[in-house]
C-alpha cells in the first residue's frame, strides 16, 4: 500500500522546530543513594505528529528515559527540551500510559477515570463528559463506561488508560510498554487499534518497547539503544512500513534484530520477537 518513496504516511515535514529535543541526555536512577547511569548519551528529536519508538534490551534505560521526559526523574546531564522549555515537572501535556494494569483509579468507574483528570485540568463538567464519551467511543469502550476497573480484562484496562491519556490531548503522548503485560492476541489487536487511532488523532507519541515487530509496526522512527550505560545505536526510519507481510517490513525487523544482537552478545537478545 505505502511505497518507500511515498510521503503519504510520513508525519509533518521536518522543517518545523522539534516538539521534543533530546541532546546528549544522560539519565539514571538513584539506587541506595548512588546514581545508576542507565543511558549514557542519547540525542534525538520528535516533531509534531511523529511516532518515535525507543527500542532496546531490558535494562537499557528506555523506561528511565521516558520517565525523565515525563518529569518523574531529573536528567543527570545534557538537555531535554519540550517546545524549548527545560523545566519538565510532571504534567498532563505529557500524559503517560504505563505498563501496569493498576494504573486506573479503582474507586472510579471507567467514565470517571476519564472525566476526573479533565476536571482537574479545568474542563467544565459538560465538556469533560463530552470529551470522555468521544474517547471512550474511539477506543470501543462505550459499553463499559459504568464498570469499575476491577471488572475489566487486562486489554480493556489498557484501552481505558490509552483513552484517558488521549482525552487530555497531550502535546506528547508517552507510552511505557503499554502492551507488555498482555497476551499475544490481545496485544496485536491493541497494536492495530492504536495504529489506527493515533493516525486519525494525529497524536505525537514516544513509545517504549522491547518488541521489534511493535516498533516497526507502530513507529515512524525507531531509536535503538544498546546495553547500559547505553548510547544510540541507530535511528531507523520506518514511517513507510505498516504492512507486516511486506518484504520491507521483514527486512527492517531483520536489520533491527541484527543491531540488537551485535550490541549484546548475551542471551538477552534471544528474547526479542
Amino acid at each position: 500500500m505505502e511505497l518507500r518513496t511515498s510521503p503519504a504516511d510520513t508525519p509533518a515535514p521536518r522543517t518545523s522546530a522539534p516538539l521534543l529535543d533530546v541532546e546528549h541526555a544522560r539519565v539514571g536512577y538513584e539506587l541506595d543513594g548512588r546514581l545508576q547511569v542507565a543511558v549514557e548519551d542519547v540525542s534525538f528529536a520528535i516533531h509534531p505528529g511523529e511516532h518515535v519508538m525507543l527500542l532496546g534490551p531490558s535494562g537499557c534505560g528506555k523506561s528511565t528515559l521516558l520517565k525523565t521526559i515525563a518529569g518523574f526523574i531529573e536528567p543527570a546531564g545534557g538537555s531535554i527540551r519540550l517546545n524549548g522549555r527545560t523545566d519538565l515537572s510532571p504534567g498532563p501535556d505529557r500524559a503517560v500510559v504505563f505498563q501496569e494494569f493498576d494504573q486506573l483509579f479503582p474507586w472510579f468507574p471507567v467514565e470517571r477515570n476519564l472525566t476526573y483528570p479533565l476536571r482537574v485540568n479545568g474542563r467544565s463538567k459538560a465538556d469533560a463528559a463530552r470529551i470522555a464519551a468521544e474517547y471512550l467511543d474511539l477506543m470501543g469502550l462505550s459499553h463499559a463506561a459504568d464498570r469499575y476497573p476491577h471488572q475489566l480484562s487486562g486489554g480493556m484496562k489498557q484501552r481505558v488508560a490509552i483513552a484517558r491519556a488521549m482525552a487530555l490531548e497531550p502535546v506528547l503522548l508517552l507510552m511505557d510498554e503499554p502492551f507488555g503485560a498482555l497476551d499475544a492476541q490481545t496485544r496485536s489487536r491493541l497494536q492495530r487499534e492504536l495504529h489506527e487511532v493515533a493516525r486519525s488523532a494525529e497524536a505525537t507519541i514516544l513509545f517504549v518497547t522491547h518488541s521489534i515487530q511493535e516498533a516497526v509496526y507502530i513507529g515512524h522512527r525507531v531509536v535503538v539503544l544498546g546495553t547500559p550505560p547505553s548510547t544510540v545505536v541507530e535511528i531507523l526510519d520506518v514511517a513507510h512500513l505498516s504492512d507486516p507481510a511486506a518484504p520491507e517490513f521483514t527486512d527492517a525487523m531483520r536489520h533491527l534484530r541484527s543491531l540488537l544482537s551485535a550490541d549484546d552478545s548475551t542471551a538477552e537478545s534471544a528474547t526479542f520477537e
Binding site: P90, F98, E100, F105
Partner: protein, 282 residues
C-alpha cells in the same frame, strides 16, 4: 486415604463450598441458618434454667434477661448507661483519630516522624490498653478524663499503624498517574493517596473501635467496683452488688449487641467502598 469415607460433619471445605450438596443444611441461605442456631442456643439456655433447678441468683434465663432489658429501656437506666459509655468511647475515638492523623502526617513528611511513630507503636501497641488505667486514675482521679485518656491510648496505635502502612504501601504507579494528570500537594493526598490507602484506613478504624469498646467496658468495671459513676460497666457491677442477676446478663447482652452493630457499620462501609471497587475481597 480413608478420609473420604468420613462423613462430613464440620463446615464444608473449599471443594464442598464450590458445589453445595442439595437439600442439606449447607443449601439453606445464611440468615435462616444463623437464626435457627440462635433459637436453638436460646432454647437450650432456657431449658437449662427452667429444668435444672439452678439458683436464679446465679443464672438468669433468656426470658428474664429480655424482661430486664425491656425494663431497663422502659425506666431509662440501661439506655442512660449505654449513652454514657458510647459518649466516652466517642470522645476517646475522636481524640485518638486526630492524634493518629497528626502522627501519620509527621511520619510521611520526615524520617524523624517515621522513626518516632515506629518506636511509639512498637512500645505502646503490645501493652493492653487497660494496663494504664491505674496511672490514669493516679493522674486524673475517678473521672471521665481518666476513661477518655485510656480509650485514646487504646485506639490511637492500631489506627496509626494501619494508616501509615496503608500510605507506605500505596501502589507507586497510581501516585505517578496522580502527578501526571497535574495533581499536587493536598489534592493528591485527598484524591489519590487517601482513597488508595482506604482498605488499611478502614481496617485501622475497625480495629480501633474494637479495642476501644473492649477497653472502656473493662475500665468501667474497675470504676464501678471503685464506686465511680454510670456507664454500662457500672450498670453491670451495680446489678451484681444487689444480686439483680438478670440485669447483669442484660448488660452483657447489650455490650455484645453494640459490638455487633459497630462491626456491621464497618462491614457496610466496606461493601459500599473498597469491596465495590475491588480493592478488598469479601
Amino acid at each position: 486415604m480413608q478420609q473420604t469415607a468420613t462423613p462430613a460433619t464440620g463446615p464444608p471445605d473449599g471443594a464442598a463450598r464450590a458445589r453445595p450438596r442439595r437439600g442439606g443444611w449447607a443449601a439453606l441461605p445464611v440468615a435462616p441458618r444463623r437464626a435457627a442456631l440462635l433459637l436453638l442456643i436460646l432454647g437450650v439456655w432456657q431449658g437449662y434454667v427452667s429444668l435444672s433447678g439452678v439458683s436464679p441468683l446465679l443464672v438468669s434465663g433468656p426470658a428474664d434477661v429480655a424482661a430486664a432489658i425491656y425494663a431497663g429501656i422502659a425506666d431509662g437506666r440501661l439506655l442512660a448507661a449505654t449513652a454514657i459509655t458510647l459518649q466516652v468511647l466517642l470522645s476517646g475515638m475522636v481524640i485518638g483519630m486526630a492524634l493518629a492523623a497528626v502522627l501519620t502526617t509527621l511520619a510521611s513528611w520526615s524520617r524523624l516522624g517515621d522513626d518516632l511513630l515506629v518506636l511509639l507503636t512498637s512500645m505502646l501497641n503490645p501493652l493492653p490498653a487497660i494496663a494504664i488505667l491505674p496511672l490514669a486514675i493516679l493522674w486524673f482521679g475517678l473521672s471521665t478524663t481518666a476513661l477518655v485518656f485510656v480509650i485514646t491510648n487504646a485506639v490511637v496505635w492500631p489506627i496509626a499503624i494501619n494508616v501509615s502502612t496503608g500510605f507506605r504501601t500505596v501502589n507507586p504507579t497510581i501516585m505517578a498517574v496522580g502527578r501526571n494528570i497535574g495533581l499536587r500537594g493536598w489534592r493528591i493526598v485527598r484524591d489519590v493517596l487517601i482513597p488508595a490507602a482506604l482498605p488499611q484506613i478502614i481496617a485501622g478504624l475497625k480495629t480501633g473501635w474494637a479495642f476501644g469498646w473492649r477497653t472502656i467496658i473493662a475500665a468501667e468495671l474497675v470504676f464501678g467496683a471503685a464506686g465511680g459513676q454510670g456507664g454500662l460497666g457500672f450498670f453491670i457491677n451495680d446489678a451484681r452488688y444487689f444480686l439483680r442477676t438478670p440485669e447483669v446478663f442484660a448488660g452483657l447482652v447489650t455490650i455484645a449487641l453494640i459490638g455487633i452493630a459497630l462491626d456491621l457499620v464497618f462491614t457496610w462501609i466496606e461493601r459500599r467502598t473498597v469491596i465495590r471497587w475491588g480493592m478488598k475481597s469479601t
